[in-house]
């Protein structure tokens, strides 16, 4: 809520002309979400500090405009998109690069120090550095502790940031206008198409060559892919020789063919391959998520009935959208069915498929409830084949970014070693009359095995159902 700009150049009060605000007065403006005030500290001989103070009424934002959903909110206190809007309003002239009374000052770099009192930097001090250093600032980011009474809670996500550079006021304001919302990464307004224009206008002269251009564009446009593509394409026109020559144009990023296959892709293709080899006609993907396995199975005409079940209704909506269910040709559409269900409840809709897949699902179940899932699948649904994959915990040490002892996903309730998985698979197979084989998935390490593991259960025909 507070930003200070200090000019320590030869004529410190010049900044008053540039900001279009007389240092002797308090300047207040009413905004849709509160008030903005500009005032100056008592001037020193060799420096002059202008402050931009923003008063946001969060009660109004919750009850009136409904932009916020919680009264207990950091928005009034941090530099965010609200702040960028305020800069646009009160420093609009300077931001546009105008100065009627002293046009001679416009292009003159000043010795500026900018203090952003509180910013929630998503990406931390490192990102602050990466965003501002290439623009010529020296960056000092001091983390703010969560609560001095509870030192064990450590630092908050907020920083007090000091930026120092010799720059024109116009440039500095443009940088702040674009980068504050990018750091905060939570825009309060709907991102319309004209947001591209705004970005290009305020990014003119520096954004195209900024090494973090991709990140800035993506976050500024709130990850709306189409806008990101438009903006990136236009930036590239502006700067025909991109500094980062290896960065492929955004339109091509979907083509992942050349890249090494991700682990999940390998897992899915392995499951799909095994399904094909088993010569089954109908398949149920238990825990289908956003439908990546379903897409592979759909591509193979030998599967004439494909069911996707997930406990998350939202995931199913995404799956329906990604699979373009509403535009799918009737023949193909008839092969596929999506429904919400749960592995912990017996459900006749799970019956009748030749094979069931549980790809990276069981580790999301609390161990005491695993037995219920086993019964639902192996005892009641009882498909001829069941394919189960789960991470191999032994491999975790080979992930450089994974702290020791941590699991790969916040929602994993357990991760098994190869031996644990095999003994579970054997016991389960025996209990429900299946035979089972297990195999590694992904690149094999001599000591730690593969990152993931697959068990293929086959109904033992000798045992009556």
């Amino acid at each position: 809520m507070l930003l200070s700009i200090t000019n320590a150049g030869p004529n410190p009060t010049d900044i008053g002309f540039l900001l279009h605000k007389n240092p002797a007065n308090l300047h207040s403006a009413e905004l849709a979400f509160g008030h903005a005030h500009v005032f100056y500290s008592t001037p020193h001989e060799n420096s002059c500090t202008a402050h931009l103070l923003l008063d946001i009424n969060s009660v109004e934002l919750v009850r009136g405009a409904q932009q916020l959903d919680d009264y207990v909110n950091d928005r009034p206190y941090v530099a965010s998109s609200y702040f960028a809007v305020a800069i646009g309003r009160v420093f609009g002239t300077a931001l546009a690069g105008n100065c009627q009374r002293r046009p001679d000052l416009i292009a003159a770099p000043l010795k500026l120090t900018i203090v952003i009192e509180v910013i929630r930097a998503r990406g931390g001090a490192d990102l602050l550095q990466r965003l501002f250093a290439p623009l010529g600032y020296t960056v000092d980011a001091a983390p703010i502790p969560l609560d001095p009474v509870f030192p064990e809670w450590g630092d908050s996500r907020y920083f007090r940031v000091t930026l120092a550079a010799t720059a024109t006021v116009h440039d500095a304001l443009s940088h702040l206008y674009v980068l504050l919302p990018v750091l905060d990464d939570e825009k309060h307004y709907y991102i319309a198409d004209d947001e591209v224009e705004k970005l290009l206008r305020h990014g003119e002269g520096w954004l195209a060559s900024h090494p973090e251009r991709q990140l800035i564009v993506k976050r500024y446009l709130k990850r709306r892919p189409s806008l990101v593509e438009i903006a990136t394409a236009r930036l590239l026109e502006e700067c025909p020789q991109p500094l980062d020559a290896e960065e492929p144009p955004a339109a091509a990023t979907e083509k992942e063919l050349e890249r090494p296959l991700t682990l999940h892709t390998q897992r899915l293709s392995m499951v799909a391959t095994r399904m094909r080899e088993l010569n089954v006609k109908s398949v149920i993907d238990l825990g289908c998520g956003e439908g990546r396995l379903l897409r592979r199975l759909l591509a193979d005409r030998s599967f004439d009935r494909i069911l996707g079940m997930d406990v998350s209704h939202r995931a199913l909506e995404i799956a329906a959208r990604k699979l373009k269910l509403d535009r799918m040709p009737q023949r193909q559409r008839a092969r596929l069915e999506l429904f919400q269900g749960s592995l912990l409840y017996r459900d006749t809709r799970l019956n009748g498929a030749d094979a069931a897949a549980l790809v990276e699902v069981i580790e999301h179940l609390d161990p005491p409830r695993l037995s219920a899932a086993e019964r639902v699948v192996f005892k009641f649904a009882r498909p001829r084949y069941v394919l189960v994959t789960t991470p191999n915990r032994e491999y975790n040490v080979l992930f450089p970014t994974l702290p020791p002892g941590n699991m790969r996903h916040g929602d994993h309730r357990f991760e098994w070693t190869r031996a644990e998985f095999q003994s579970w698979a054997q016991a389960t197979a025996q209990r429900y009359g299946y035979t089972v084989t297990t195999e590694p998935v992904g690149p094999l390490d001599e000591t730690h095995g593969a990152p993931s593991q697959l068990a293929v259960f086959a109904l033992d025909n000798q045992v009556a159902a």
Binding site: N25, L53, L146, F150
Partner: protein
Amino acid sequence: MRVIEIPELALVALVGASGSGKSTFAKQHFRPTEILSSDSFRGLVADDEGDQTATADAFDALYYLLEKRLARGLLTVIDATNVQPEDRARIVATARKFHCLPVAMVVNTPAELCIERNKLRPERQFGAHVVHRQITALRRGLRGLEREGFRNVQFIDPVEEFEIRRVPLWNNRKQETGPFDIIGDLHGCADELRLLLTRLGWNAAPLDGQSALWGQETWHHPEGRKAIFVGDLVDRGPNTLDCLRIVHNMIATGTALCVPGNHDVKLMRWLRGAKVQIKHGLEQSIAEIEPLDKAQRAELACFLASLVSHYVLDGGALVVSHAGLREEMHGRGSGAVREFCLYGETTGETDEFGLPVRFNWAAEYRGRACVVYGHTPVPAPQWLNNTVNIDTGAVFGGSLTALRYPERDFVSVPAAREYAIPARPLRPQALDSRSSQQQLDDVLDLADVTGKRFIETRLHHSVTIREENSIAALEVMSRFATDPHWLIYLPPTMSPSETAKQPDYLEYPTEAFQYFRANGVETVVCEEKHMGSRAIVIVARDEAAAGLRFGVADGRGGVCYTRTGRPFFADPREEAAFVDRVRSALTAAKFWEEFNSSWFCLDCELMPWSAKARELIERQYAAVGAAGSAALMASFAAIRNSPAAAGLLPARERHLETMQKYRAAYRRYCWPVNSLGDYRLAPFHLLASEGLVHTNRTNLWHMQTLHRLAATDPGFLIATPFHEVNVNDESQVAAATSWWERLTDGGGEGMVVKPMNWIESGPKGLVQPALKCRGREYLRIIYGPSYTEELSTLRKRAVNAKRSLAAREFALGVESLERFVAGQPLRRVHECVFGVLALESEPIDPRL
């Protein structure tokens, strides 16, 4: 006037040519909703009743509705020509599918008259030849109607005056409400029957008359109870004839009912000369019957033939049949129903003893009616989904069992000896110590929780759960909740008191007291509201007791879960240690003995708040405090250094002060938890123990009882401070108000005001079981650090939606406990718990 009798549940096919007067006749004698007319369906699907191209679609729609009606047990009339045998065949097949009786009503009007009438109808200009053809087809088919399956054929002359009388089915004894003694398979065990009747309080009362066949023996109950025999009176045992005599005479004197068993029917067929295999004990019956003469044998057969397949009694709440009965067959009449009643449902396979493998219809049974049956001997009767098999194999040396209804207790007498050797040994089936119901409940059915649901509760009639809410609940329940076997209760949400009229306050005790006063509640209990996390704690005396009562095999002796059913402790050892500590307190307070229970369910608050909400505190509460303090302090300093901005200073000072108060507010509820000893548990409801849901106790009792518990472990358990207040006594109200002020000024969250009675009804139905009244400082955590500056805006709060939600959740919560304590199937308990979770996903202002 002629009277035509038809069964109350019939599928009536009108048969007659176009223009014969069928529709007019139907309108005179049946309700408009009972008549499905092909003409009007043609109109519905094609906007033209005469459009013959729409016939197929019209009948599709007609049959769709017909099936819905028959499934609901409603008499239906099909108003179509039905002159072709294939049309009628579809009607008969549909009637059979729903086990109701097809009736044909033939309207045989002369062709000339039909043609005359059709001429007057613009939509029926299809020429005379059509009518002639229809009448020819009709006449050709008349003789075959009975063979087609119409046992009841009526010829109607539309000009004649007559009355249609609807006759109840023989199995309909809904008006008989008991009490009943329902008695299992006799198989000739007359001595055991006499013993059992005596034990049940029946007296032998010899008949006056003398009948060589039936003798004089009959029984009578001084309290007017009625016996119902589940059939299989005969075969295998020593005294088949005596059994038949007793049952016959009791029926004749109106003290008993009896449904037939498969053995009874087989004996009847033998008596009537059918070729039946003389085995499975029929030989014993035959030996006894040998001396009887032909007339007596005929009379015996006649008696057996008179037995009705099953009975629906007590307003539909009780069904008795020999081999059980699916819900859709209750009160219906068809060959399939009779077959099921006699033989049950088999899979077509045989087991290792050569006996047919039975399909366990009871496992799928979801009906309201309690079904009592026999047929297959079991070691002991066990309830399963509101059905019970009371054949305890008397003839095989087991026992003869009666179910007392509506008391629902079992009375058994052991067999004097083993009269026959069972093909399959009569012994406890499995080593599983859990009941049949618990074994069946091992895994719940999705169909019992999803979709739009209506849950019947004792307190609040039917509670509706909308489909989108159950969708949300399914995910939460599956991903995060503790094992449903333990999840017998979820607490309801709680409404605050109305917004205070007192300046400077958003909530104040006056409004809470006023609410109860207005609802006719005189005495309330004010309890200090603890600021932690709501915790439901279930503790069994030991793991074995937990296994028995909760049907679990997870080795746990208790659980602690949050208000959304999540396990409180991620680490099972920690949970076990926590449960153990509560268990020790229960032991020290001698609660196990006092309540004669092996388990308790406690409603509690678990402190500190930071133990469970740490992530939330760090992400939101402490974060806002850190950002806010830093920003406010910096701007305060900047303004102080700027003469021009001096006007901004006062507001900054106020905000800085409220920010400090805000930080102080949440800090009170945080302290580090390094071991079990750092937790504090404040139990405030002793919800349930074996056989009892303690909702009939007052809130005062709950407080006092739990104070006794807390006294045994004061370092861990908190005895919640409380005050009993008469809301009509100004001095008591004033005292409680100042107590609340002291409490909240000192940083307390506030208080909860509850009616003296746990469950209280007022003029507008269920009174809120509790209202919270939160302190001024505490509310900073809810409404923001400087909410006190914005009170005029915040005063607009609508508490009604929250209260309606609280009432529904409360009703469901009590219902789930009552169902659990009554030993109902887990799905019935889970349905309510799932319902509470689903309701919690309704959009309600989270700050209330």
